[in-house]
């Protein structure tokens, strides 16, 4: 089993969700995050004083999957999340030792 984690632009979440569903992924977990990187933030002004916002909102998407699907899933996410503009994010994967479905206690691929 593998865990694919993707940092994407928030407004791409629906695309990514739809693409993953089309691919056959049945579940995922999303966390709100902020990113710092090449993409520049913006400056706000309050009573003349400047306030720099350099952490840019991102979505962090986690998908647990079978080993053989990981590469495809990464591809699917990359395609769906791409705008081609700086700040599109990163996708990475790690191998998991166990996955359990809490409701039933099923393990491994059955847990998905």
């Amino acid at each position: 089993m593998k865990l694919v984690t993707a940092i994407i632009k928030p407004f791409k979440l629906d695309d990514v969700k739809a693409a993953l569903e089309a691919y056959g992924v049945r579940g995922l977990t999303v966390t709100e995050a902020s990113g710092y990187g090449r993409q520049r933030g913006h400056t706000e002004v309050y009573r003349g004083a400047e306030y720099n916002v350099d952490l840019i909102p991102k979505m962090r998407v986690e998908v647990v999957c079978e080993d053989e699907d990981a590469a495809d899933i990464i591809d699917v996410v990359v395609k769906a999340a791409q705008t081609g503009k700086i700040g599109d994010g990163k996708v990475w994967s790690v191998p998991l030792e166990t996955v359990v479905r809490v409701r039933t206690g099923e393990r491994g691929p059955d847990a998905l």
């Binding site: 407004f11 629906d14 695309d15 691919y23 056959g24 699917v76």
Partner: protein, 431 residues
């Protein structure tokens, strides 16, 4: 007709109307984020239901010629079909009717705090209509209808003093709240689980709007722009101030911290307590009443933990107790200089007035408690008064109203350009 008096009563009516949206925020901020909308709905629907009933028959039951014994008015004013020139005292009768309507609305709304998070919305709407009809309209007649000794039995015949509704509004709503909290039972998890207010700034905003509106409530009850109105105004201000201070003093001594919620709660307790007394005491008396009420209510709200009833937002501790304290303290602090007649114990009037006050409090409290309990039970048996346990855990807002109060994340909120673009994807082997 006096235009100055009319101007003041119209302004006061608007002020008292505002109290209900203010109360909605005051209460709503104290609930959890998943049930704030339901609380707003419970308060606001009182405006809707009670206003319509008021025109149809409510005003008439409360303020038409007594139908016997000072218990209820007749139906001669049903429909409010008055002439433009028809007066009530020095003001147009519809100005007086509008002013009193606002009292009926907020009294019903006050009860909702006791049943936060768990009442079926439909059942609540029915309850409000029935309760206004069977409890509020008669009690308002008892206390507020004056007709040269042929009016309501408490105010006009017995001679108990209740300037703006310590009994008719607060004891009434507080006793009803207790009954309804018993009918509905405790929230899932209470009291083991801790439930904290989800938005204290709007609690304070609500308290501010209540305070502001309460000037209409109390000083407007003079039904004229005169010295009595000015006295009621000043009394309202300083009693509230003193109560807010005394509540946070109790907190500081007992818990080590003066809290924002305590300050707001103290202010409301002070407003409640001075309501019956604002037309009977001088400013120094008002300070005393406020200070006493603030401290007593600060302790009274803990009763529910000992007696194990879930009066969620402390309607009993603040309104029943505060209203009773205020009504009774008139027996001590009333002064002829303001009442134009009766004196309280501290002003040489003996215990007579205190006795009358006690009768008024007991009668209104008992009537309201019993009737409300019966109404609540009947609704519970017939249509059910409480939502399912899982719905309560998920939150009544989504379940009952299909809405969520807040969606505050600027970045992630909608407007996803390109959400529609189709993406070519490989197919999963076994999908």
């Amino acid at each position: 007709m006096n235009t100055g008096d009319t101007a003041w009563v119209l302004a006061s009516s608007a002020l008292v109307l505002l109290m209900t949206p203010g109360l909605a925020l005051f209460y709503g901020g104290m609930t959890r984020a998943k049930s704030v909308l339901n609380m707003l709905m419970m308060c606001w629907t009182c405006i809707g239901v009670v206003s319509v009933l008021w025109v149809l028959y409510g005003y008439s039951l409360a303020f038409s010629t007594d139908a016997g014994g000072g218990l209820i008015g007749d139906l001669t004013a049903a429909g409010l079909r008055f002439d433009l020139e028809a007066l009530s005292g020095t003001i147009p009768v519809l100005a007086f009717a509008a002013f009193q309507l606002m009292f009926a609305i907020i009294t019903a709304a006050l009860i909702s705090g006791a049943v936060a998070d768990r009442a079926k919305f439909g059942a609540w709407v029915v309850f409000v209509g029935v309760w206004a009809t069977l409890v509020y309209f008669p009690v308002a007649h008892w206390v507020f209808f004056f007709d040269d000794g042929n009016g309501g039995w408490i105010g006009d015949r017995l001679g108990a003093l209740d300037f703006a509704g310590g009994t008719a509004v607060h004891v009434n709503a507080g006793a009803a709240a207790l009954a309804l909290a018993l009918v509905l039972g405790r929230r899932v998890g209470w009291p083991k689980e801790q439930m904290r207010p989800h938005n204290l700034p709007i609690v304070l905003l609500g308290a501010g709007l209540l305070w502001f509106g309460w000037f209409g409530f109390n000083a407007g009850s003079a039904v004229a722009a005169n010295g009595l109105a000015a006295t009621a105004f000043m009394d309202t201000q300083v009693a509230t101030a003193a109560a807010a201070l005394s509540w946070i003093l109790v907190e500081k001594l007992r818990n080590g911290h003066a809290t924002t919620l305590g300050l707001a709660s103290g202010a409301i307790a002070g407003l409640v307590a001075i309501t019956p007394a604002a037309g009977s005491v001088e400013p120094l008396g008002a300070i005393a009443i406020g200070a006493i009420a603030g401290a007593v209510c600060a302790y009274a709200i803990s009763l529910k933990y000992r007696l194990r009833y879930d009066d969620s937002l402390d309607v009993v501790g603040v309104h029943l107790v505060g209203g009773a304290v205020g009504a009774l303290l008139i027996g001590f602090f009333a002064t002829e200089a303001v009442t134009g007649g009766a004196n309280g114990l501290f002003y040489g009037g003996g215990l007579t007035q205190l006795g009358l006050q006690a009768v008024a409090v007991a009668a209104v409290g008992a009537y309201s408690f019993v009737l409300t309990y019966v109404i609540g039970k009947v609704i519970d048996w017939t249509m059910g008064f409480r939502i399912h346990e899982e719905d309560e855990v998920q939150g009544i807002d989504v379940v009952a109203h299909a809405e969520t109060a807040y969606d505050l994340d600027a970045a992630h909120s909608g407007g996803f350009a390109g959400a529609i673009r189709r993406v070519e994807v490989p197919k999963k082997v076994d999908a």
